[in-house]
């Protein structure tokens, strides 16, 4: 229906309530299915891309997810939101694919690979020093204008920081801060506790912030 429109991604198409969407899909309403595809696929591709090594693989993961949705929509009971249900299928499909590509470790191995707290020790005074737990050095100020942080070099740094994250941190920060999910939704999609969700998100955000700090530091020294 909207194919051929060059600005398909810019077209903001809202969907009606879950109940209406599910009823339409079950009744074979292709226009509704197309609207879902066009509204959700971009975010799904971004999330899938964090599990697999190529964009082609990510597209296959999203395709397999939609095929499972077509087949499984009769089993949807409405106890979570439709999007949470679709995203959970996506995450499971992507993890299987990612495991085949050895890109990710199984989610069930929990926090083994996620390293320690990003701010352990290093930046803060030791327990036996004066003012224990306070900063050794004041963090340097960043360039002031808000626009600066969206400059293309900065975006490149952010993308690199995201790519370097352990898979679970990358998934959580992608869902929360890029896709705009609530913490409740992320816990449902990934089947993790609120505490685990917060730890993963905090480590991921800290890593991205630290990357930007290094970037601005380097930029200042070479200026």
């Amino acid at each position: 229906m909207m194919s051929g429109m060059p600005d398909r991604e810019e077209t903001i198409v809202g969907l009606p309530t879950d109940d209406a969407v599910v009823a339409a899909l079950r009744a074979g309403d292709e226009a509704m299915f197309a609207a879902m595809l066009d509204t959700w696929s971009q975010g799904m591709l971004r999330l899938a891309r964090s599990y697999v090594s190529t964009s082609d693989s990510a597209e296959e993961v999203v395709q397999d997810t939609w095929l499972a949705v077509i087949r499984g929509i009769d089993a949807f009971e409405g106890r979570s939101s439709l999007k949470t249900w679709v995203y959970r299928i996506l995450v499971n499909t992507a993890m299987k694919r990612g495991a085949r590509e050895s890109r990710t470790v199984p989610w069930s191995s929990a926090f083994d690979g996620d390293g320690g707290s990003p701010h352990d020790g290093a930046r803060f005074r030791d327990a036996d020093a004066p003012f224990p737990g306070s900063w050794k050095e004041v963090p340097a100020a960043w360039p002031a204008p808000e626009g600066e942080i969206l400059a293309s070099e900065v975006r490149t740094e952010i993308a690199a920081a995201l790519a370097a994250l352990p898979a679970r941190q990358r998934t959580v920060i992608t869902l929360r801060d890029i896709e705009g999910c609530t913490s409740e939704e992320v816990c449902e999609i990934l089947e993790i506790s609120p505490a685990n969700q917060r730890v993963l998100l905090h480590r991921a955000r800290s890593a991205v912030r630290d990357r930007l700090e290094e970037y601005f530091e380097t930029a200042r020294r070479s200026a």
């Binding site: 309403d29 591709l45 087949r71 979570s80 939101s81 963090p139």
Partner: protein
């Protein structure tokens, strides 16, 4: 009101910016920031980072599904869910609503539930 060391405060930055701290902790957090430039600066940078993540433009491919995948999926939908012949033709344009967030805009017909659906595709 709780008192924090800088190191503790930094560990709570996510809980603070997401407004997940309880009242005594939040007051202690803000009281510390008011007196501590390094922490105030850190939290400000943390907020900028989160803001930047939410406003990343995604102009790199793949922006969306390829036409090939899209038509494959529409064909699969037609094959799996044939439209009953008696239903009248519908307007093919879905209703438009303003979106608050580009990625996450469906109306939630149900409150978050404790026991959520198992996806049918999750066989192992």
């Amino acid at each position: 009101m709780k008192r924090f060391r800088c190191q503790e405060l930094v560990e709570l930055a996510t809980a603070y910016v997401d407004r997940e701290l309880d009242e005594p902790a939040r007051l202690g957090f803000e009281d510390h920031m008011a007196e501590c430039l390094p922490c105030a600066r850190y939290v400000d940078q943390f907020r900028m980072t989160v803001h930047a993540l939410g406003h990343l433009p995604f102009d790199e491919p793949p922006a969306t599904l390829s036409e090939h995948t899209r038509s494959t999926l529409l064909a699969a939908f037609r094959a799996t869910r044939p439209k009953p012949p008696e239903s009248p033709d519908r307007d093919t344009t879905p209703p438009e609503r303003p979106a608050t967030h580009p990625g996450w805009q469906t109306t939630h017909a149900h409150p978050p539930a404790l026991h959520s659906d198992r996806p049918a595709a999750q066989s192992d």
